[in-house]
């Protein structure tokens, strides 16, 4: 079974190579190659998962990649329940996204390139999942970063897309640096990259406590970059510039999942350092709340979902930090399904609705695209975490784990975030799918200016839209409405499959279930307090069933959020956000994402740019001078040496003999007895 994992990983790479080297001119074929390869990977992943369910345990197979003195680097595969689950999630979501993409990207001139990159992206993520050592994981980690750069900037001719790709790359690279330092720190102390050996070394106390904490925090810094945790979250909303299926893949199953997966994979480090767990838990909890508050004031359909992603990732990190390993991983899985569904659903709307992304230009779309609307509502319920949707079970697990860990503050943050989640999800649903059509709805494909969140006062001013644009005449809109229809089956089929999973996937985590998720994926590591005690605690927890107070609290908050959304948006008459009036200036702050981007820009402009200018001056005037000087000097020496090389064979022979004579002279000179005889030192 372990050997199957190699195939799972390398089939998508094969698709990438095949497309880029051979089939690039044949669009349809290129698409099918990636779909087939990822489909085969999915089937094999399911086989691996079934095998793992039948016989749980960790299996490793490694191949000595490089051996230089004391440094041994392996290229290996580590399969355990965690990896098996992730393989299935990644390949399934990737497969559905590819199928969806055949329609979404159908008209794009870069169709083949798109599918080649998708293959490479899937390969990188799968390699990251099965990696058995830190260095291998780092290689794939960077590959994932590279692929996201390529895909976010897929429409590189658009300046905003190119900028977003660069931003995603730079911000996550910033985090990666921490990860690299952690790897070097661990290798320096333990002399190995292997996950198991490092965990064992940490458990045996071969690493000073401070080093463990430092390593764990550095790993978390890397994970925070990829998983968009505060303060490294800024790249993710901008990443919406990529094609929507890419957003679905990045934000559900691959890039952002990588950070959470990394923390789960190296969990042995974290459990050995209480301080690092605390940092993870609080950063996660804060991010969950922080992103959720931003999400309630966004107007771009994809950005709302993007901030929701950041918020949910915060939940997962909070769970891991609170010791809820199973809860965090379970949420990673369920979230993959409903978040992919939200993005693909948003993409379906955008695709059919003249590529418009502002929710205030929509409204009442339910009657044109019923499948999209219903599946989106399912996803919204799952994301909000209402019983019995998938998100309920995993979020419930998280809240219980946090409660058990004793961080009651975090517990209430988590519960309150659930309210906000329900609110912003149904704000989206009501504004997009129900109520009257917007006064600002587009009547054709021409790009419209961004109107943001229209304020009620603006809309009520007679005859003018939010940005002063004239209202579209009823006739033109009726004409445009004739073109509205449901997306094709290749789009709706993935939506329905994901909706099904968003409903049922949670039941695997039903508390007390004898073969539930918790008895499959759990942390049994060699960390402090591991072994029998943890096993007993886990068994007790698994058997306990629902924590009723938490169930009631979380569902109450979700319903409250839903109700608030209905009160504010469900009965609206105009395309205007009443919340803007209620919250006043606070709303503006939220709308501007707490001005974090502006702060970064300000900081960069005033501090980094200044320093850079100084360095640039040094570079231009001093370093360049030196470099050019050295260059000129070397060129000069080269030119001088050239004089010897004049093509005369006699000269060459002469140099040959002189050289031999010099060598012999040196030898003789160094011979003490002979030197003495020649120089005259002999008696």
């Amino acid at each position: 079974m372990v050997n199957l994992a190699w195939w799972v990983v390398f089939l998508p790479l094969l698709a990438f190579l095949l497309i880029s080297l051979v089939t690039r001119p044949h669009r349809k074929l290129s698409g099918w190659i990636t779909i087939l390869a990822v489909g085969a990977s999915f089937v094999l992943s399911v086989a691996i998962l079934l095998d793992m369910l039948a016989r749980p345990g960790a299996r490793e197979s490694a191949w000595q990649w490089l051996s230089l003195g004391p440094v041994h680097v392996e290229l290996g595969v580590l399969l355990d329940p965690l990896a098996a689950i992730m393989l299935v999630v990644v390949t399934l979501v990737s497969l559905l996204v590819q199928i969806y993409s055949t329609a979404y990207m159908g008209e794009d001139p870069g169709y083949s390139r798109y599918f080649a990159f998708m293959g490479l992206f899937t390969f990188s993520m799968l390699g990251l999942v099965v990696a058995n050592n830190y260095l291998e994981m780092y290689v794939f980690w960077e590959l994932v970063g590279l692929c996201s750069y390529l895909l976010i900037g897929f429409w590189y001719e658009k300046p905003s897309a190119a900028a977003a790709a660069k931003k995603a790359f730079v911000v996550t690279r910033f985090g990666d640096f921490g990860f690299l330092l952690a790897i070097l720190l661990l290798f320096g102390h333990l002399g190995t990259f292997n996950f198991g050996e490092v965990a064992q070394g940490v458990a045996d106390g071969r690493l000073p406590a401070a080093a463990v904490t430092a390593a764990a925090l550095l790993v978390f810094f890397g994970a925070a970059g990829k998983s968009a945790q505060f303060p490294l979250h800024v790249w993710l909303p901008d990443a919406m510039e990529g094609p929507t299926p890419v957003s679905a893949l990045i934000h559900a199953a691959t890039m952002v999942a990588a950070g959470v997966y990394l923390v789960a994979r190296t969990y042995g480090l974290f459990v050995s350092s209480a301080a690092s767990l605390l940092v993870v838990a609080y950063i996660g909890g804060f991010t969950a709340l922080f992103a959720a508050t931003i999400a309630i004031a966004q107007s771009d359909i994809k950005r709302i979902v993007a901030y929701s992603t950041i918020s949910q990732l915060g939940y997962m990190m909070m769970a891991l930090g609170a010791g809820g390993f199973t809860a965090g991983v379970f949420h990673l899985m369920t979230h993959a399904f409903f978040k992919a569904l939200l993005f693909l659903g948003a993409g379906s709307v955008i695709l059919m609705y003249f590529h418009e992304q502002n929710i205030w230009r929509m409204g009442g779309l339910y009657r044109y695209m019923k499948i999209t609307a219903i599946t989106m509502i399912v996803a919204a319920l799952a994301n909000a975490g209402l019983f019995p949707f998938a998100g309920f079970f995993s979020k419930d697990e998280i809240l219980v784990a946090v409660k058990e860990s004793g961080h009651l503050g975090l517990y209430w943050i988590g519960a309150f975030t659930a309210l906000l989640t329900a609110f912003y999800m149904f704000r989206l649903v009501f504004v997009v799918f129900f109520g009257p059509r917007s006064e600002f709805s587009p009547s054709g494909h021409e790009a419209l200016p961004d109107i943001g969140n229209p304020r009620p006062a603006q809309v009520e001013a007679p005859g003018a839209g939010a940005s002063g644009e004239p209202a579209v005449s009823a006739q033109a809109r009726a004409e445009a409405d004739k073109h509205l229809h449901e997306s094709p089956a290749v789009v709706t089929l993935p939506l329905m499959i994901l909706a099904f999973l968003s409903i049922v996937a949670g039941f695997w985590g039903w508390p007390g279930l004898s073969h539930g998720f918790g008895s499959f994926v759990f942390f049994s590591g060699a960390g402090a307090g591991g072994g029998a005690a943890a096993e007993a605690a886990r068994a007790a927890h698994a058997a306990a069933g629902f924590d009723w107070p938490t169930v009631i609290v979380s569902n109450f908050f979700v319903l409250l959020g839903l109700l608030l959304a209905w009160v504010l948006y469900g009965r609206r008459r105009r395309a205007a956000d009443p919340l803007a009036e209620i919250l006043g200036p606070v709303f503006t702050v939220l709308e501007h994402k707490y001005y974090v981007d502006e702060f970064y820009l300000w900081f960069i402009r005033h501090f980094v740019d200044g320093g850079a200018a100084v360095l640039a001056w040094i570079d231009a005037n001093i370093v360049n001078g030196i470099a050019n000087g050295i260059g000129a000097l070397l060129m000069g020496i080269g030119g001088l040496l050239r004089l010897f090389q004049n093509g005369w064979v006699q000269r060459y022979a002469l140099i040959f003999f002189i050289a031999v004579l010099v060598l012999v002279a040196v030898l003789v000179y160094r011979e003490p007895a002979l030197t003495a005889a020649i120089v005259g030192g002999a008696r």
């Binding site: 003195g69 080269g638 064979v649 060459y652 022979a653 040959f656 030898l667």
Partner: protein, 482 residues
Amino acid sequence: MDGGAMNFAILWPEIITSGVGVLVLAVGLLAKGETLQRSRAAAWVGVLATVAAALAAWNLQGRNLTAFFGGYRLDDLAVFFKIVVLLAAGMTLLFAPDFLVRHFVRPSDFTALVLFGVTGMMLLASALDFITLYISLELISLSFYALIAIQKGEVRPAEAGLKYLLLSSLASAVMLYGMSLIYGLTGSTYLEAIPKAFGSGQWPLLAGVGVLFILAGLGLKVYLVPFHMWAPDVYEGAPVPTVAFLATGSSAATLAVILRLFEGSFAAAGGVWVPVLLVLAIVTMGVGNLMALPQTNIKRLLAYSSIAHAGYILLAVAAGGSSGAAAVMYYTLLYAVSTIAAFAVVSVYSQAAGSSDIQDLAGLARRSPFLSFVMLAAFASLAGVPPLAGFMAKFTVFAAAVEAGLLVPAGLGLVISVISIYYYFQVIRVMYVSEPRESTPLTFGWGTRVALLLGLAGILLLGVFPGPALHMAQTAVAAGLF
């Protein structure tokens, strides 16, 4: 040692290449209606012969047999170098016909000479006494005299051939003198007899002189400065396929014998030659890299590049030990693959342009993306850019030097090697950035395509998966030099 018994089984690689060489020559001379185009088939026969010989050599791994009264040894070291020289010969024969036919040279003649040359190289890799060593070396040189001047009626190749003849005869004479000195002192021509004869004590002065004479003679073949002066002129004048084979096969085989002599026979006299070789290796790196800077002709640039790489390899020889020897072997392999790939590209574009000026590479990326990509990979590999093969090779060399305590030479070498990035990427810049002078797409035959693909695969695979080749080199060294 097996006494005088003739164990022909271990000679299969040499038998195949020399036999096919004779056959190709005879058919080429006797067949009626032999045209240039039809004679291309001879090159394919030659390629098959090298493949068959390489398979035969591969099968002989781990045997460690001796034949011909101890004058010939088949061990893993020999097998490794045989495979390297066969690879060089095979790749050369793959892309040579396109060039030869255009210059009115019959591929059958060329093929026969390459096969004779590669036979000499394989014998040299197995030579265990001075007689075999010298004969093999002469077989190589004789083949190259003809291969360099094979373009009848053209002045530059003839001039290059003459220069090579004169200077390599000179080197042979000096080397023979060194051998005779050592033979006079030890009474034996066997390599393994030398350390036994001198025991553990101080070597006599004359023996040291002999060692240095041999170093000078072999140094000429591997571009050791200051015995390198023939190389740029010969590279520039000789036909491209000949240069490709000369740059890789000839120096690879000579390195095999250098390893046997200096790491084996002369190991006890390290005090005599190690300081000399260290200094010369660093000078070689310096001269090679510096002289490459002002070159405007790609063949001369590659000559100085060969010289620079010889410096790195000889640094590993001076470092010695098992890691030094393994580094020499791995470096030789990667250098052969990268260099031949580069020459295959040069062969195609210089035929089209009618010159080998670097300027004529302008816009190659647009005329043939594949060619320029191979050139990019080859040059990036030679410049030592990770994760390509050249990076791993430089890494092993400098690691071996550090392991041997040669921190200053290793540091100097690293600094000097930085220069190389400039001239390699200068060429890459011309290919990718400069406007093409003409825009006709470049065409080339299947043989060239296969050679280019082989080179590309080698550069990538040896870099990303250095394990197997390095392991092979390490086991070969561990098995002993004689």
